[in-house]
């Protein structure tokens, strides 16, 4: 069993960091949801807060690492223009059934040699590469609010709800990126 350098980074970007992000989100959301009057004892509250601080900051850090690795390491491999020969922008993709050394995933999708695949790039990748960057900013804001106020959020139901909105919006942005990333890696894998 071995992974190429590119496979290793796509696994780190999509699978390892993505899984950690998902775990941190579910833990953080459960903690935030139950941070209400009458749900916890003072002792339980102390124990819960430590986990929430960890969960929210792990989510924020993994979100940053995911978008940075995605944009600066994986994306250039996806985006490389390898196929143009002369006037034909997709000559290198002729007969390809998956991306090759002369046909990057972007070339492959836009060329349409394997069916009607252009929308995977024009809609899927274009949306994913931008909206994903909202996740770390929202997750950082939510993590800061949780750590700054700590258990005081119990007495601030509106602020707790606003924090949940940011937290869930961070997840939604990451989910769009993650879902399209998984589909794109099926349709046009980075090899």
């Amino acid at each position: 069993m071995e992974l190429s350098n590119r496979e290793f980074w796509t696994v780190v970007h999509g699978l390892a960091l993505g899984t950690l992000f998902l775990l941190a989100f579910t833990g953080g959301l459960a903690g935030l949801w139950s941070l209400r009057p009458g749900f916890l004892t003072t002792t339980g509250l102390k124990e819960r807060m430590t986990r929430m601080y960890l969960g929210t900051w792990i989510m924020a850090v993994t979100a940053w690492l995911t978008v940075i690795s995605g944009t600066w390491i994986v994306y250039p491999w996806y985006r490389a223009q390898l196929a143009p020969v002369g006037d034909d922008p997709f000559a290198g993709c002729a007969g390809a059934v998956v991306p090759t050394s002369t046909c990057s995933p972007r070339d492959f999708l836009l060329s349409g040699v394997s069916g009607n695949t252009q929308a995977w790039h024009r809609f899927g990748m274009e949306w994913k590469e931008h909206i994903s960057w909202a996740a770390p900013m929202l997750a950082t804001a939510a993590a800061f609010v949780v750590v700054y106020y700590g258990p005081r959020l119990i007495g601030r139901p509106w602020l707790r709800a606003a924090t949940i909105v940011m937290f869930v919006a961070a997840f939604a942005a990451a989910a769009i990126g993650g879902a399209f990333g998984a589909f794109l890696n099926k349709v046009a894998p980075i090899i």
Binding site: P37, G38, L40, T41, T42, L45, K46, V67, T71, W72, Y75, P76, R79, A80, R122, F123, E126, W127, E129, H130, I131, W133, A134, M137, L138, T140, A141, F144, V145, Y148, Y149, G150, P151, R152, I154, G155, R156, P157, W158, L159, A162, V165, M166, A169, A173
Partner: protein, 125 residues
């Protein structure tokens, strides 16, 4: 401007007796997230609308092949960090109307997300 006036001390908090916190620092980071997302959306749209902006954004890429996405994301993160820093300092010891700040940030973030939606920004190509 509205303020979050729904503050009360629940019994489980009375045992911890935490000192009150000013809303300024939290309002600063909430606003920063909205500004960061708005800047990313704005440059995503302007990248399609203007060749000059496209070239400007591509100039942030140090030859790695990221293209204009380099400029969009770097400028968005700078806007996020600067807004947090500046408003964090200005509002450090202030009780600002955090509800109003949240609504402003939500409006900015929503506008940014709309501008990042491909059918929207491609309409300006």
């Amino acid at each position: 401007m509205t303020t979050d006036t729904t503050r009360h001390i629940p019994p489980e908090l009375a045992g911890l007796n935490p000192p009150p916190k000013k809303d300024g620092p939290a309002a600063a980071v909430i606003l920063a997230a909205g500004v960061g997302i708005f800047v990313l959306g704005l440059f995503t749209l302007l990248n399609e609308a203007s060749g000059a902006v496209h070239d400007f954004l591509e100039g942030f890429d140090p030859g790695r092949g990221v293209g204009p996405l380099a400029g969009k994301t770097i400028l968005a993160v700078v806007a996020f960090a600067l807004t947090w820093l500046v408003f964090g300092l200005i509002w450090r010891r202030k009780d600002v109307p955090i509800k109003s700040v949240f609504w402003v940030a939500l409006a900015l973030g929503t506008a940014g997300a709309v501008m990042m939606f491909p059918p929207v920004f491609e309409a300006f190509a």
